[in-house]
Symmetry: C2
Subunit: 346 residues, 2 copies
């Protein structure tokens, strides 16, 4: 056993920064081939530049998905470089989906800056998203395992669209009654909207490194469970978390009528009539009303049960990683990344 093997695995920030450094040149090259105007919007959306093309002042995204793709390739016994086209593709698709989702949700801010549609206009933002989408598919089309890689990505894309469609429709559905959103429906939506790409990333990396089918499938399923855990953690932070950590005010989900898991669980618990009455009241809740609603959700066990559910999904993700043969070092890094991601600690 070498001394290296005795060292503890790298921390999440180190893992992310190593992978970002590996992927950055390929990502920049891909973007550089776009129409110059579209390339600027893409660079802005990726946090690489400001409006006008000057280098970005604020830091870019963490690059979780690109890291998962690189680690997927390494965990499958391949070189990190094998996963890079997959990393580029998932990062482009993630950016495309944020860009179009911000239009759909009317969100004016993204990572503390104006969203692309606010900075460049809705039409150009639609076009920039389309360009990123096409570029992602093009990137995979140029790899040696193109057909399988494209299939892996389009499955994720198709789920992404389904998840986003359900999320948009959930917002219009009532809190109570036969039309209310069920806990099961929520989890399916979260798996698609958030999990599909988190699963696709390591699966794509593994696939590009020539991994057997069952390895890619296990990594895909692990990422999907991670996505549900991640979404639930987001819900919990949105109700009880630190607004500085989240970048959005506590209770904003509740204010917007977003169907989050703690509330859905609480509404299904015995004695939830006061909560139901509060949420379905015709007048919008003020800050006091929102605090009261959050307290009722907690009292009904919504917070604890949602946390338990997030832990269960994280456990399933880890169990899936353990179910296939992976290179020990990268597998340890994957586990580190999964756990800190599910805790929303990064």
């Amino acid at each position: 056993m070498t001394s290296t093997a005795l060292q503890s695995p790298p921390t999440t920030p180190r893992i992310l920064s190593r992978c970002r450094a590996l992927v950055a040149p390929a990502l920049a090259e891909a973007i550089g081939g776009l129409h110059p105007w579209v390339a600027e919007m893409a660079g802005y959306a990726l946090g690489l530049c400001e409006v006008g093309g000057a280098p970005a002042i604020r830091s870019q995204g963490k690059g979780v998905r690109q890291a998962l793709a690189v680690l997927g390739a390494e965990a499958a016994g391949g070189p990190a470089g094998a996963g890079v086209p997959g990393a580029v593709a998932v990062e482009l698709v993630h950016t495309f989906s944020l860009l179009h989702d911000d239009i759909m949700d009317g969100d004016a801010l993204r990572r503390g800056r104006p969203a692309v549609w606010k900075a460049y206009g809705t039409g150009p933002a639609v076009l920039a998203g389309d360009a990123l989408f096409a570029l992602a598919v093009e990137t995979l089309g140029a790899t040696p395992h193109a057909a399988a890689a494209v299939r892996q990505l389009t499955t994720a894309l198709s789920d992404l669209v389904r998840g986003q469609a359900d999320d948009l429709l959930f917002a219009e559905r009532p809190w109570t009654g036969p039309e209310a959103v069920g806990v099961g429906e929520y989890e399916v939506m979260a798996e698609r909207k958030t999990g599909a790409l988190l699963g696709c990333a390591p699966a794509l990396g593994a696939q590009l490194a020539g991994a057997p089918r069952e390895t890619a499938t296990a990594l895909d399923r692990a990422g999907r469970h991670l996505g549900v855990a991640f979404q639930i953690a987001d819900d919990l932070l949105g109700m009880w978390g630190d607004p500085l950590v989240m970048g959005k005010p506590v209770h904003s989900d509740l204010r917007q009528g977003k169907k989050t898991l703690p509330v859905l669980i609480a509404l299904n618990a015995p004695g939830s009539s006061a909560l139901a009455e509060l949420l379905t009241s015709p007048t919008a809740l003020d800050d006091r009303g929102l605090c009261h609603a959050a307290a009722l959700v907690e009292r009904a066990g919504g917070r604890t049960a949602a946390l338990r559910e997030a832990r269960r999904h994280l456990g399933s993700a880890h169990a899936l990683l353990a179910s296939v043969s992976l290179a020990p070092g990268p597998a340890a890094e994957l586990r580190t990344l999964l756990s800190s991601l599910a805790r929303r600690a990064i």
Copy 2:
């Protein structure tokens, strides 16, 4: 020689309706796999249903691109069915691009009905477009020649985005001076925006039927020339055509400041100062002013030269078809389709 060989080739309406009948079940099956809400928007965009899902009252599109894909397969010596996944993919991409272009251009009407973004909202329309795009790639990913087919489609998509970006930027550029749009720039834009998919369609069909690379390339290039001819014909009809045929009022392009070829040519001709002055006048032109501008364009030779340019591109398309070995019957149908499409007679 059999009696069939002595018959004249079928007319364009017959060609289109035969191909539509072949492709319709596969197209319906593909759409049917989407999220139900997204499937309804997709069906509406394709002209298959009305808002709410009831069968369409008005007829759907002509299906030029799907016919080109089917004929491409047959011209390459394959069965029509080999081209069907390509036909489905190009029809989905065409619908996706119209859907997103209508958002970008703010066009409220499409084929005499409210555009998808008007009927369902901008956000849902963005999502429906994304879903059609993903479905197109997914459809090709399931074919035996998946990797090459996906590459063919993404090349067209990438050009489509570049063409649309240029078209959006051209609208903001002046009529005269060093920043004015050149005739060469116009043709590159038209080839990308209109030609890329018209070229991709028969090339994809041929490729899926196992045609040699040079056949697919010739068909792709032929379709791109056709696209430029088609776009010029559109410009000509928009200035001097029958508004009943076009579905939009004569001079509407001129009113919107759209950079059409007859005007660009006229502005480059000697003695165009009166036209330049009229177009750059700070007050918007009224109907009389628009008629006067159109007359000046014609007097400067813009109409004749643009028509000559359209014929030249149509000639190049026919020459490319003649440059490769194709099955005679389908090749004749391709020629019929090309000529009537360039005349905007369908």
